[in-house]
């Protein structure tokens, strides 16, 4: 509170600039969100610059993905708090198991970020990797206008969203590593090289992206105990 009052009192303070009506983002109520939509074009330009910034002096594509991931991480941490705050008081609980957490990400997180829920949620079919889950987005908003050059074909700029998801997981005490993989493109590349196998679903979504969530061993251990109890 004291911060708000000082900011009103001394407007000529250097550094932060205040709108003429004196209302900064901190004066807005945390709860009202329905109408706060942003222009996709402005976001596209901003994100384009973020990718440009992150690709300065990088040594490898993994390096670039790591940087985008790092840019997204704090957003996830903060977004988790904000979304839980916006829940009705009775259901203001942080997710307690993996399924609840992933469901929260698929529904609330995705809706608040992109205006719609994610397109799919899957558990890894490989029995040797029970700690891997997949969140699927058919056309990620961040990649809407991005064409990745051929020499960086394994790059997915959705690594930024992966960073956000990782932030949400870390914030709710489910440490995880999240990576983004564009599967639509790989499929296309494979088709170009080999026999033209027509896979309708993959053809329809060239930008289909899978967010691979790999939880830390301690999370799986805890999940095991919870399951027994």
């Amino acid at each position: 509170m004291s911060n708000l009052q000082t900011s009103k009192g001394s407007k000529e303070q250097a550094g932060l600039r205040y709108p003429s009506n004196g209302k900064t983002i901190y004066h807005r109520p945390l709860n009202r969100t329905r109408t706060s939509e942003l222009s996709q074009a402005s976001f596209a330009y901003l994100f384009s610059e973020m990718v440009g910034y992150a690709s300065k002096r990088i040594e490898s594509i993994q390096d670039l993905e790591k940087r985008l991931n790092t840019q997204g991480h704090p957003i996830g941490l903060k977004l988790l708090d904000l979304l839980l705050h916006r829940e009705p008081t009775r259901s203001q609980l942080r997710p307690l198991n993996i399924i609840a957490l992933l469901h929260l990400i698929k529904q609330q997180v995705w809706t608040s970020l992109f205006g719609r829920a994610a397109d799919g949620l899957e558990k890894s079919s490989d029995p040797s990797k029970p700690d891997e889950y997949m969140i699927i987005d058919n056309e990620p908003l961040v990649n809407a206008y991005i064409s990745v050059p051929k020499d960086m074909s394994q790059l997915s700029c959705a690594a930024y969203v992966a960073g956000i998801v990782e932030g949400v997981c870390d914030g709710s005490a489910f440490p995880a590593r999240v990576t983004a993989h564009s599967v639509g493109k790989q499929q296309q590349g494979g088709e170009d090289g080999g026999a033209g196998g027509a896979d309708g679903g993959k053809e329809m979504w060239p930008g289909r992206t899978v967010f691979l969530v790999k939880f830390a061993p301690e999370v799986m251990e805890r999940e095991g105990f919870l399951g027994k109890g």
């Binding site: 610059e49 440009g52 206008y145 064409s147």
Partner: protein, 154 residues
């Protein structure tokens, strides 16, 4: 036949994109394309200066923003027996040249849409370097499907 070809020229007169959309056209080699782009750029600059009407003296503006006249636009359309060339010069000096059939209708609308695709899929792509040749898969894909739609509807 509809739309034949699209050429994009950057503000320095360099060719940054060229593509043909229908079969059985005379082909140019890359060098000829570059020469064509450079020549057109020069001709366009000349036509922009060829204005027979004397410009009215600008009234002294009283405060506020100065009243600037719209600059002369230069060559916009060139029609021949076999094709029609429409040129669209953006505010930043990028030129879009669209070669169409002489009977093609609503070329302005098509041009606007192509500019929109360019603004979306080229300018918002972090891997595109300004003034350099356009190599963006998404732009290519969207443009092809848009032009194919127009060409097949006739």
């Amino acid at each position: 036949m509809g739309i034949f070809a699209l050429i994009i020229i950057n503000k320095a007169g360099g060719l940054i994109y060229n593509r043909t959309f229908s079969e059985g056209l005379n082909q140019l080699n890359t060098n000829d394309y570059l020469v064509l782009a450079g020549t057109f750029h020069g001709v366009h600059a000349i036509t922009a200066r060829l204005n027979p009407i004397k410009e009215p003296p600008s009234p002294p503006s009283s405060g506020g923003s100065p009243n600037r006249a719209e600059p002369a636009s230069g060559l916009e359309v060139m029609e021949t027996e076999n094709f029609r060339l429409q040129c669209f010069n953006t505010l930043t000096g990028t030129k879009f040249l669209l070669f169409t059939d002489t009977m093609q209708s609503n070329v302005d609308g098509t041009m606007r849409k192509i500019y929109e695709l360019y603004a979306d899929y080229v300018m918002k792509n972090p891997f595109y370097q300004l003034e350099m040749p356009v190599r963006c898969d998404m732009f290519e894909r969207k443009l092809n499907s848009y032009i194919r739609e127009i060409n097949s509807s006739r």
